[in-house]
């Protein structure tokens, strides 16, 4: 492979990067390619911007690319482009027709350029800035779309449905005692020297509270996708179908085309590349003898593959306070919205994963990963045994050479508007806890996995056909358990810190309410509070 430049030496750094990337990509693929029949290629035209492809039956083809340089001069390069896809194409259609050639050329160019722009920067952690531009353009389009819909609604003299994130009813945040006292005060004509024991009107408090929860409660809405205030050109988030004008429909159709025919195949190709590189890379690293070099290599293989997966989802992530990133011997806890959280965190740091052993593709990935560096995988039967789990996790954190553990204590996916109860298991271990808050911006694609509605494959497809996944990650300063705190209080303290940072609602409810009924102990608390009001006073009365 040759890369040769002629012409004025002043190029933009991005062009350098492009050629470097091309060269690197080629080096990667070299072992997989047949040695080329050394034909002189049909390099026909050296005019601006023309690309010609070599002999269609041999790959890699030789390619000559020309283009303008910054100073108006000419630069000319030789390089070789090779892509498994194009070669397959030519193997299937072994005749030299013009259409096949053109198709081959365009496919090759498209995929190679895009992959080069995406995969190689991913490996080195640099960025061209394409995604930010994409985001800005999309935002402008969404704002325009919402305006059109509002106009359409006004013409028909109707109201658009606009969701409220803070609930649809006006609520008073007063306690049980205060409210009942107020009710009694407003109804009672006698002077209140000591509050009476029971009034018929007490029932109003419970009745109204009950009705309020039927109209709007804090928990039910956390298990379905967050509702958006402006439309983002995805049919899955539109509540006001009637007001779409023709122009908007055309725009939406264009969006569908782009998302399904352009972005989706690209993303699937990237995801496939990322996962296969992960499996192959970690298996290869696993054969090395244990030592510093192996650790170094395994960390970087993991990082590289996660970065490719991040690009596969077009995830635009902003990391804040990176100096607080988790260190060895610690536990990293974060709020859980989707399985993608793992990829997002692991592409910016080195973690040891914790989870159940799965079958199928996940199992293959897990087994490969654990060869390169120690992750903690539990068998299904072991998960129920809390002591065993705690023991293994404790062993892992005590070994300072092992990477920090990544855990999601909510236990289930919540829709990213709130943080629910943290299970105390990981807080009992006694290691330093590094909290991380993850907040997604649902405008570009909602990452929440509603596991009762969608399976994993459907979910991934929905992810890959959204515009992008945009999120912010905050690394919070490490926390340790105080001497007078128990595990539950410590868990709640960490949870509040995460909720505050991410701008999420801090709820005490258990995420398990998604599937199970609430425990009776909570009802007993309410009953206790109320009984104090009517019986506590009864005792006073009998004494006086």
């Amino acid at each position: 492979m040759l890369v040769w430049k002629i012409g004025p030496a002043s190029f933009t750094s991005k062009v350098h990067l492009f050629w470097g990337a091309l060269a690197f990509w080629d080096c990667l693929l070299w072992p997989f390619l047949l040695p080329p029949a050394p034909r002189q290629s049909n390099v026909v035209n050296l005019e601006w911007g023309l690309l010609s492809y070599g002999d269609s039956l041999s790959f890699p083809g030789w390619c000559c690319l020309t283009g303008p340089s910054e100073d108006g001069g000419l630069f000319l390069s030789w390089g070789s482009l090779a892509l498994p896809g194009s070669s397959t194409m030519f193997l299937l259609l072994p005749f030299d027709s013009l259409i096949v050639n053109l198709l081959g050329i365009s496919l090759t160019v498209l995929f190679t350029l895009l992959l080069v722009f995406i995969i190689v920067p991913a490996i080195f952690g640099v960025s061209f800035g394409i995604r930010k531009l994409y985001m800005k353009t999309l935002l402008k389009i969404f704002a325009w779309a919402t305006l059109r819909m509002e106009r359409g609604a006004k013409e028909k003299n109707h109201q658009l449905y606009k969701p409220y994130t803070n609930g649809i009813i006006a609520k008073d945040p007063t306690s049980l005692e205060e409210e009942i006292k107020e009710i009694r005060r407003s109804g009672s004509s006698k002077a209140l020297d000591n509050t009476p024991e029971f009034e018929l009107s007490d029932i109003f408090y419970f009745c109204r509270k009950g009705m309020e929860t039927i109209m709007d409660d804090e928990v039910t809405k956390r298990f379905s996708a967050e509702e958006l205030e402006s439309w983002n050109l995805l049919s899955r988030t539109n509540y006001n179908f009637q007001y779409i004008s023709l122009r908007l429909t055309v725009l939406w159709g264009l969006g569908v085309l782009i998302r399904y025919c352009f972005l989706l195949p690209l993303r699937i190709a990237l995801a496939f590349t990322g996962i296969s590189l992960l499996v192959i890379g970690t298996t290869v690293v696993g054969y090395l003898p244990n030592g510093r070099f192996k650790e170094f290599l395994s960390k970087h293989v993991h990082l590289m593959c996660y970065r490719i997966c991040v690009r596969a989802l077009t995830a635009i992530i902003t990391y804040h306070d990176r100096e607080n990133r988790p260190r060895n011997g610690g536990i990293c806890v974060a709020n859980h919205t989707s399985p993608i959280d793992v990829i997002i965190l692991a592409s910016d740091g080195y973690y040891a994963m914790v989870g159940q052993v799965h079958g199928g593709l996940m199992g293959v990935i897990q087994r490969a990963m654990v060869k390169a560096c120690p992750h903690v995988w539990f068998e299904r039967s072991e998960v129920k045994d809390r002591h065993l789990v705690a023991k293994r996790l404790t062993e892992h954190v005590q070994d300072k050479s092992k990477l920090p553990i990544l855990i999601f204590p909510e236990g289930t996916c919540i829709n990213n508007t709130s943080v629910m109860m943290f299970k105390k298991g990981s807080f009992e271990i006694g290691a330093t806890v590094y909290p991380v808050a993850i907040k997604y911006d649902p405008q570009f694609g909602d990452a929440f996995w509603n596991s009762s509605k969608y399976g994993m494959v459907t979910y991934l497809l929905r992810m890959m056909t959204s515009w992008a996944i945009v999120c912010s990650v905050w690394y919070l300063p490490p926390m340790t358990r105080e001497t007078d705190e128990d595990a539950v209080q410590f868990a709640n303290r960490v949870k509040s810190a995460i909720a505050r940072q991410g701008g999420l609602v801090d709820l005490l409810w258990d995420g398990g309410l998604k599937r199970e009924k609430v425990k009776d102990t909570f009802k007993e608390e309410q009953q206790k509070l109320y009984s104090k009001m009517i019986v506590g006073n009864h005792e006073d009365r009998s004494r006086s």
């Binding site: 109707h158 109201q159 449905y161 609930g167 649809i168 009813i169 006006a170 009710i183 407003s186 109804g187 009672s188 004509s189 024991e197 029971f198 009034e199 018929l200 009107s201 007490d202 029932i203 109003f204 408090y205 419970f206 009745c207 109204r208 509270k209 009950g210 009705m211 929860t213 039927i214 109209m215 409660d217 804090e218 928990v219 039910t220 809405k221 379905s224 049919s235 899955r236 988030t237 539109n238 509540y239 006001n240 179908f241 009637q242 409810w509 309410l513 009924k517 609430v518 909570f522 009802k523 007993e524 608390e525 309410q526 009953q527 206790k528 109320y530 009984s531 009517i534 019986v535 009864h538």
Partner: protein, 196 residues
């Protein structure tokens, strides 16, 4: 794809529901969304289980009684009109309602009388129009759970019935109930305001 689309025209019998309950179009839309969110299996109606799954309702001591009020006459399902009809009792009272109302039309669902009647029905299980001492005991037991002894509860129930009972029949009728609560600001205490 279109499962989330919703508009007043899509709510079945929207106009008649609006007239009957007095909810505005916007409020009705919100309640319709809520109805559909609670209806997890998209059946088109709600059953007891759907309401019991609301965590905050399950911890309410009177939760079961409140759920029962949605299923009168032994029904097992409540559709959207039935759902809204019950919730209409808690609509705040507008000032213009009472002055401009045509006396021949039936009382609006959120009038003072109807709110009181709703509360009365939470006590009066057998719907005989009277709250007996036994029914009073049952409600008290629900509200305090196991925290209070039987004797204490009985004396409370006796005292309450005695205070409210005027005609000496040992039970509290609806009129006696309203009389004992005549000074109460029912309109405010039994109202839930839906945000615009």
């Amino acid at each position: 794809m279109g499962s989330r689309g919703s508009h007043a025209a899509r709510i079945p019998d929207a106009d008649s529901i609006r007239r009957e309950t007095g909810f505005s179009q916007a409020s009705l839309l919100r309640l319709y969304h809520r109805f559909r969110a609670l209806d997890r299996n998209k059946k088109g109606y709600l059953s007891r289980v759907d309401l019991q799954q609301i965590g905050a309702l399950a911890v309410n001591p009177l939760g079961d009684r409140i759920i029962d009020s949605f299923f009168p006459d032994g029904n097992l399902r409540v559709d959207f009109p039935g759902f809204v009809r019950v919730l209409a009792h808690f609509r705040p009272v507008d000032e213009d309602d009472s002055s401009m109302r045509d006396p021949k039309e039936p009382e609006p669902l959120n009038s003072r009388m109807n709110k009181l009647r709703f509360a009365f029905q939470l006590y009066d299980l057998d719907r005989d129009g009277k709250i007996s001492r036994h029914e009073m005991l049952q409600v008290l037991r629900l509200m305090v759970g196991v925290q209070v002894t039987e004797e204490q509860l009985e004396s409370i129930a006796d005292r309450t019935v005695q205070e409210a009972d005027e005609d000496g029949d040992g039970a509290v009728s609806f009129l006696e109930f309203t009389k004992s609560l005549e000074k109460m600001d029912i309109e405010q205490k039994m109202s839930i305001r839906i945000l615009k």
